[in-house]
């Protein structure tokens, strides 16, 4: 309980620091919101008037307080590009990208864990080499290239999955999954390498442990020994790496969503950056940071559920 409190406190503190950085950066960049609204050729007096009415001439601290207050109360302002309130816009996109992130992680783990376990059980044999090569192949190719290959093969040639577009999962879940499948697979193949290596090394350490020998001496079948006894011990570090990869994933998602014309957070961030939609940029960065941190917190909590030794304290 004390642990959870400590962690939440540190999450809040980190979010506070991130809010200062995002707020600061967008204020240091040349060109402000008023100019974005009225264009560079606008009348200086009208521009000044708009600045005054938007409160852009207030001291930075006041502006920050107003922005932060809005963020906390759900009033995130309006997107200049879409002319819509930001909060509902982002929540819809978070849902879309959330589907991709979850599917990516599920696919990456579903591929990496068996591959890593397989490699660990046959270390330094051909199975091990095959596993490393497969994993590295995914890592060494850029995501967008994998994406294009997947589109060519699964969408254009086989026609199993749509090559682009987005379906709202609250309206048609099956369709949403079908649309998210190829982008998720492209991302998963990129993440797989680290996870496979991590699984392999963690499993190799665990399989040499005495308690594995004890489990075998009890007459448990090898399947139970490996998947039931060893894997729960090895899964912790794998989960930690997976949690850290979420951050990296949001970088790749920008490219992949654009490639697949999938209108999620990545696509939205890209549009916001391209059009210097400052309020939207601030909000997207803030939301992504919060999601990454909350996911990592969840991973750490999960770790404590799996491993009783770190439950105390």
């Amino acid at each position: 309980m004390v642990y959870l409190l400590n962690r939440l406190l540190s999450v809040a503190l980190t979010l506070f620091l991130i809010s200062i950085v995002t707020f600061g950066i967008t204020n240091i960049l040349p060109g402000d919101v008023a100019m974005m609204i009225m264009g560079t050729q606008s009348n200086p007096e009208a521009l000044e008037g708009l600045r005054e009415s938007l409160g852009l001439n207030d001291p930075l601290l006041v502006q920050y307080g107003r922005w932060m207050g809005g963020m906390l109360t759900g009033n995130w302002g309006e997107s200049l590009l879409f002319n819509e309130p930001i909060a509902p816009l982002i929540s819809q996109k978070v849902l879309a990208s959330g589907l991709i992130v979850v599917m990516t992680m599920m696919m990456a783990l579903a591929l990496a864990i068996p591959l890593g376990v397989w490699a660990a059980r046959h270390r330094d044999r051909w199975q091990d080499t095959t596993s490393s090569t497969t994993a590295l192949l995914g890592l060494s190719m850029p995501d967008f290239f994998i994406g294009i290959m997947l589109i060519l093969f699964f969408a254009a040639y086989l026609g199993w999955f749509p090559s682009s577009g987005f379906v709202d999962p609250t309206e048609n879940f099956g369709g949403a999954v079908r649309h998210a499948f190829l982008p998720s697979l492209a991302l998963a193949l990129g993440l797989m390498a680290h996870l496979t290596r991590m699984t392999r090394s963690a499993m190799m350490g665990i399989l040499n442990q005495d308690f594995i020998r004890v489990a075998r001496a009890k007459g448990l079948p090898e399947r139970t020994v490996v998947w039931g006894y060893a894997l729960p011990n090895a899964i912790g570090p794998v989960m930690t790496v997976a949690g850290l990869q979420i951050g990296y994933l949001f970088g790749s998602i920008i490219v992949i969503e654009s490639l697949f014309s999938y209108t999620g957070m990545g696509w939205l961030t890209y549009q916001a950056l391209l059009n210097r939609d400052i309020p939207l940029i601030q909000s997207t960065i803030f939301v992504i940071a919060a999601v990454v941190m909350l996911v990592n917190l969840a991973v750490d909590l999960l770790y404590r559920v799996i491993d009783p030794r770190i439950r105390l304290g």
Binding site: V2, N6, F211, R213, R216, A217, Y229, N233
Partner: protein, 610 residues
Amino acid sequence: MLDQPPQQPLVSIENLRVEFDGESGPIAGVKDVSFTVNPGETVCVVGESGSGKSVTSLSLLRLVEFGGGRIVSGRLWFRPGEGEAIDLAQMPAEKMIDLRGDRIGMIFQEPMTALNPVFTIGRQLTDGLRRHRGLSAAEADARAIELMREVRLPEPERRLRQYPHELSGGMRQRVVIAMAMACRPQLLIADEPTTALDVTIQAEILGLIKRLKREFGMAVLFITHDMAVVAQLADRVVVMRNGEKVEEGPVERIFAEPQAEYTKALLASVPKLGEMRGKPAPEPLRIPGAPEPVATRPASVSTTGRPVLSVKGLTTRFPIKGGVLRRVVANVHAVENVSFELAHGETLALVGESGCGKSTTARSILRLVEPTSGDVVMDGQDILGLDAGGLRRARRNMQMVFQDPFASLNPFMRLRKQVAEPILNFDLARGSELDDRIAFLFDRVGLPRDFMRRFPHELSGGQRQRVAIARALSVNPKLIIADEAVSALDVSVQAQVLNLLMELQVDFGLSYLFISHDMAVVERVSHRVGVMYLGRIVEIGSRADIFEDPRHVYTRTLLAGVPIADPTQRMLKESAEFKPLPSPVFPAGHTRPAPVYDEVSPGHLVLRDD
């Protein structure tokens, strides 16, 4: 049928050969080993590391395959129940798992790692039962509680839901034994089950195995390196070396009239508790086959004059932090008000069980950990008052030899450089003088000079420990602290290193602070002995005082737990109950009263219990 197995024994190993893949072709871990185990019999397989004793036992369960081994030839006859003997070497793997844990149970050396840390004790005790006996969850739990009672684990109901890290080493080993006993095996294979345990717990566990064996009529195949344990437990003994059987026979015969030279050497290398009775000074062990120890001038201990080391009221505590603000909520009282003096040329041994604070005492003296309070005076110099530079210079006079020679040498550095490093650090010699000095040190610890260019991994454990000793000697220290310096070594190597330490003491007039858990070794090497328990010295005196006239109840318990390497003096108590060890953790601010000692004879102090 030519393959007619012998009718009587439970296990009959015939011409077993096990190979492992080496860099240049297969390496034989076991070559042509044959012996039998009869129902209800205890057979001890004894040998040093690399003798193939563990590989033999793992082959019987066919677990050796998981470690990269192959049973190349030989038969492993086993008679399950009343039926015909079957050859385990030819058993298909899927049939083998039905025998493992059911007819044959196994316990291993290291109780701290033998249990799966993420599952409860209950689950680990019951999964074998549920698999082999098809019990329901409730039935298996009931049986698990019964098993824990059989191994004398207190509060078995509570243990079901506990995790391994909540249990002490002795308790965990009882769980491991209970697991192996779950299906009432006909054969229990025990691979060094007490090597990692303290002597008092070792005595309890050995007594337990003995009782279980008698109660359930099971045969025990006991693997060990410890001749004293063999003497206490075995009906028959198989001595192994380099993958071959050297000798086999009833335990009394092996100890009274060993036939093989190797068995004789092995027996001679074991320090036997009590054999130093009446001798005034430490004495090297006589090892047949090895050069006769150098004529032992009695080490000259100067009892007059200034002591080399004087420790007064040394206290070291480790804080335990908790709460949101990470404040100190409790302290581990690792060393509590410890005082002693060490004279020139003298060996003072600190003995005690794990967690008693003997190693922390050593580290506190060198200030490798910072003591909380007390005085340490080394050769007239107040060590605890020194600044960083002064401490560095002072450490020249006090060197340390650690337990694990695999970990205490830098794997990337040639041995010459490792021995030269302290000399260069204190700028004691250069150029040809440095070369001469290193050559002298290598000669002195009995290592060939061409070893200087080698790396640590090219040496055996004993040779590495010799390098560590040479490194400690290189700066001509007055005091050497040996922290379990021979505990990780095989007995024959241990004997040689002990002899070397004693020889060097006579030649260089060294003082040793000898930290050990092994009472028999301590009796061999020390002039004086301090017994530690829960951070305190409970009794200190001359070797004769402690070993011939122990006064404190803990000293007596400790001595009573030491197995004696003599099968005619069996002392295992089958009823040994579980005794929990009190905790050295006290709430913050807790002070323990200063210890009061009774001087029962000159220099023999006994703690008055509070």
